[in-house]
Symmetry: C2
Subunit: 385 residues, 2 copies
């Protein structure tokens, strides 16, 4: 069983790190962006296209898969890898975030969380132990501990109590993970388990949560409770408070982030792994990422534009199609339009991580980050969800 | 300039023919199925995927492209081939059928047809000459004469007058085509022009229309006014009345047809070219074609089905994914689901034409057709539109 994290290079001017995480289904070079395959499919693209994009890992949402098609179905197919025909690494979240953001009639107790799903309203209950069981059945390479993700803004007392409960849940996940490893349940011994730090936007709570989670000794650490509507400065502060507590020899994952400049800023703050729906979600609205910011290809200015989405971009969409044609496809609601922008946007994110890693190795990450952020102007308001 | 039709083999037991049509953008083996790229894109698939499917020709809808993005836009990109990045042959219809089926407030006169488009209601006028100009600007390899497609059922007197006007329109298209050829307007000299036979469901009108159109000497002949809601027997009769009038050394195209058994029956009746939205449209509803009929993958029976859509099928969808996974994708409204079924359905149609051609060459088409039709059961009602 291979589950190691190797630190290959660190930046002299920032906390940026170049690393390599080895999972049962292959290596992940960090900094890494994980395309989001919520329902067992990265929206608009095929597993073959993900491989051609050099995506090294895909994220699956436990809540969505639990609700539909159901864990029993995926188990019958031998796990999520087989089901979706993706033989690279898969990270699954615990389901917590979506229960808190999508499900109805949530009732949180020490034991776990009861809810009605958003598809057919069926009642269900997920505890830390059940979250581990589900992720084991999915065959995830990187599993996440169940946490409570509190809303923004959040009262101090609630945030404190919630973070403490998240720690107790993390301990139960850790324990179940250990038991499963001992009884050698199929596939589970090969998976990694990441703990999640909470604590809302309070420095002492973030540090306490981080220390308590680190004390449990997970395979990696995630910062949760960010990207919940807070201003970017508060998000960065939450990361800056947490990072010094995290061990250097384990991967760090900031959940649900972010824009391209945010990713570089988070890398500079010592973060290694990211997931975000922006590249796929904005593509469906006609918005493409470029080095100078986002452009909405629906705009009339692109009607006769024979240029690719981005000059010198080597993605299939840019090598084969013009802005004008893609604009037409989006206006005419042709599926190929969102497919092409999705391909480009995923390439943009994945390539940005590759570049960042190479710059860290070269010792030039700081200049690269500053130049990229200075050139990148968010032309349109984008919401990270 | 190459624009030839070569008859390579004929069946002894039926009128089935194996041929090869040479266009400015390449050869088309007949019998040929033409995937429908209504708005400059075959719904759900990329030009690269069309090439991988061995599609030899794509159909574009003049009416749709005229309305959006507009002919001027496509002209600016150097024609439809460049615009959509498809370097194979393109056939465009004249726009007539869609004006009669989609546009509002149509006013048909001898001069042409005035209408309001279905997108923004803008008024426009298309005459036979304008239809030829538009198709020239699109850069079509095979252009179609403007015709009036009468509804089903249709009064004899109206059908007779309409077919006569369609003949006069065909003559005007032929004349404009000749003039354009002489003045060597860019690209136009390389295109072929097909005439369209009308005459509704009346034997004498069909024969008169066919003879009048044949007398004009087109590069190929289409049978229009079928697939407009008539029973299959009437459709087959309209083809049977028309076929003997058509010259053997020119390709014959039945417009807007049909189901897989219908295609084989039409091949047996001497038809060479087909276009139909069924494989792409039904895919979006979760319906896949198989040798034993259509199956709707939404059905619960496929939830745990690890088989491909069709055993032994070599399409990418069948080589890589299970019915159970595709069912999940369709139920979850994931785009990949309709992409995979579209790929399979197009492969099914294109492969059926390949098989039919090979069987004609071997002299075994008749057995092949009978065996296929006997095995194929339409499990669900399908509507050809």
């Amino acid at each position: 069983m291979q589950k190691t994290f190797e630190l290959l290079a660190t930046d002299r001017h920032s906390k940026a790190r170049r690393g390599r995480l080895t999972s049962a289904h292959g290596e992940i070079d960090t900094p890494a962006f994980m395309p989001v395959g919520t329902q067992g499919s990265v929206k608009g693209v095929s597993p073959r296209e993900l491989r051609e994009l050099h995506a090294q890992i895909v994220l699956g949402n436990t809540y969505h898969l639990f609700v539909r098609p159901g864990v029993d179905v995926i188990k019958c197919f031998g796990g999520l890898h087989n089901f979706m025909n993706w033989n690279g690494p898969i990270l699954t979240d615990s389901g917590g975030y979506q229960i808190f953001s999508l499900a109805k009639l949530r009732k949180i107790t020490e034991e776990g969380v009861e809810f009605q799903n958003h598809i057919d309203g069926a009642r269900a209950f997920i505890s830390p132990e059940i979250a581990m069981e589900i992720q084991m059945l999915l065959g995830s390479d990187i599993t996440m501990a169940l946490d409570e993700c509190v809303p923004y803004p959040c009262e101090y007392d609630y945030a404190a109590q919630s973070a403490e409960m998240t720690t107790r849940w993390a301990k139960r996940c850790w324990e179940r993970n250990r038991q499963n490893g001992e009884t050698a349940k199929r596939g589970f011994a090969d998976s990694m388990l990441f703990g999640i730090v909470q604590g809302a936007m309070f420095e002492d709570l973030r540090k306490e949560s981080a220390q308590a989670i680190v004390d449990l000794d997970f395979d990696g650490y995630a910062i949760g409770g960010v990207s919940v509507g807070e201003p970017e400065e508060e998000m960065m502060r939450a990361v800056e408070w947490t990072e010094p507590v995290l061990p250097v020899n384990k991967p760090r994952y900031t959940m649900g982030l972010g824009t391209p400049p945010q990713l570089l800023e988070l890398i500079a703050r010592g973060m290694d792994m990211f997931d975000c729906v922006l590249p796929t979600r904005l593509a469906r609205n006609g918005t493409a990422f470029t080095a100078t910011g986002t452009v909405n290809l629906k705009n009339a200015e692109f009607t006769l534009d024979k240029n690719p989405i981005e000059k010198n971009c080597v993605c299939d969409a840019c090598r084969e199609f013009s802005r004008g044609y893609i604009r037409h496809l989006i206006k005419a609601e042709e599926i190929l339009g969102l497919r092409l922008i999705t391909l480009h946007n995923l390439h943009f994110y994945l390539n940005l991580m590759n570049q960042a890693g190479a710059e860290i190795e070269k010792g030039t990450f700081d200049q690269f980050r500053k130049a990229f952020v200075a050139q990148y102007k968010t032309r349109e308001a984008v919401t990270v969800e």
